[in-house]
Symmetry: C2
Subunit: 221 residues, 2 copies
Amino acid sequence: MNSPTEENYLKALFALAGESDETGVKELSERLGIKMPTVTSMMKKLADKELVQYESYKPLRLTNKGRQAAGLIVRKHRLTEMFLVEIMGFGWEAVHDVAEQIEHLHSPLFFQKMDEMLGFPKIDPHGSPIPDEQGNMEWKSYQKLSDCHPGELVVLSAVIHTSSDFLKYLNSRELHLGVQVTIQSVEAFDGSMVVSYGSHKAETLSHVVCERILVEKENLS
Amino acid sequence: MNSPTEENYLKALFALAGESDETGVKELSERLGIKMPTVTSMMKKLADKELVQYESYKPLRLTNKGRQAAGLIVRKHRLTEMFLVEIMGFGWEAVHDVAEQIEHLHSPLFFQKMDEMLGFPKIDPHGSPIPDEQGNMEWKSYQKLSDCHPGELVVLSAVIHTSSDFLKYLNSRELHLGVQVTIQSVEAFDGSMVVSYGSHKAETLSHVVCERILVEKENLS
DNA sequence: GTATATAGTTAGATTAGACTAACAAATTTA
DNA sequence: TAAATTTGTTAGTCTAATCTAACTATATAC
C-alpha cells in the first residue's frame, strides 16, 4: 500500500506526463512545493517499488504499474468531485480541497457506491476524464480557447488549473461547461478575446483566462 | 490543528471517560494498540496543547478544550456513519472503517452538507448520540439487555463495540434498532436469554451478545 | 571548447510517531 | 510492613518525510 505522500508524487508525475511526457526533478519539485533533494529520495523509493523508472540525471518516467496506481488515485479524486457537486450540492469551485483528502481513503466500496449513484460518469465537474477501474484514462484532445479564431463557434468543454478563484470568476460570467461560445474578436496586443454566449453579447476575456478554457469546435453541419 | 494521530488519542480518551471517567496510561495503551511509553509521550504533548490534564503517575483527564475537540471528531464520525447508511446505502456493519478515515477530514462544508442532507440527526446507525456543533454529547442511559428480566418488554435502542461480525450476526437474526423484544427466560447457568420479537418466537442470545445490546424499557401504559 | 548557469545528488539535521530495554513509583498481597 | 506485582516513566533507537548546505553532472553560451 502506498502512503498519501507517495500517492501525491505519483499523481503529480501522472499529470506532468500528460502535459509533456518527460519530466525532471525540478519540475516535480516545483509542482509539489517540495525541495529537490526530497524529491530525489522519493524517486529512489518509488523506483524500489517499481512505480517509477529512475536513474541519476535521467528524465523521470512512471512505470506501467505506477501509471495505473496514479490513474486510480485520479479516478478517486474525480469521482469524488462529481459526487460532491451532483449529490451533495457543492459548487465546482469548492470541491478540489476536499477531493484532495478523500482521494487517499482506502475503501473500494465507498467509491463504488459513488460511481453507482452517479451513473458511472465519464467526466468530472471540470470536464476532465475519469479513469476507469483499471486506472486507464483517455487523454481528451480539446483545444484552448486562446488558440481559436474570430468567427468560430465552440463549446466550453473543460477547464484547467482549477483554482477556486478562477472558477468563481467563470461562475460570475455564467461560463459553465456546455455553453456555446462565439468568438467575436481577438485583440492582437494582449491576446484578450471578445466572445458572446447565452445572454452575454460581448464579454471580454483576458488571455490568461482563455488559456485555461478548453473547447471543442462545433460541427457546423 | 491536531494531527489524525492526536485526534485518535483524544477520541479514545473521550470514549474511556464515558465508561469510567478516570483513565490510565495502560488502559489507553491497550485501547489504541500502542505501547505505553508512546502513550506517555503523547500525553505530554497533548498536555502542552492543553487538551489533556497530565501529571506523572496521576490518572488521565481531558480538559474542557480536549473534550470539545474529541466530541467534534466523534460528531464527524457518527454523522459520516449516518450518511453512509442513509444516503449511500451501506449496511450498518460496513461503515465503521470508512468513518474512521473520514472523521479526520478537514472540511466544515462537507460535514455541514451531510448534516443537512440527513435532517440534522441526533443518533447514528448504531443508536449512539451525535455530539452537537460544540462537541457536546448527551450520554444516553440505556440499559444492557443482559441486565433485564424475564417478562420485560424492551426496545432495542443501541449497540456497543460495533464490530462488523457482531452486526452481521444481528442482521442475520433481524435484530435492528427499534425492534420490540420480550424476554422469555434467562438461563442462570450461562446468562443466555430466550427472547421473542417480530416473527421470531424463541431466539436464544448468548450473554456476550446481550451485554452488547442496549435497550429502553417500554412504557407499559 | 572552456566558462557559466542550471539541474540533480549527497550528506547530515529535524520532527512526528512508533518501538524496546531498563528503571521507578504505586498498589496489592501475604 | 515488606515483598511482589502492576503501572508508568526514561533513555535511546528507528522510519518516513521533510529541510539546508555543499558538491557534481549536464547543458548553454560565448
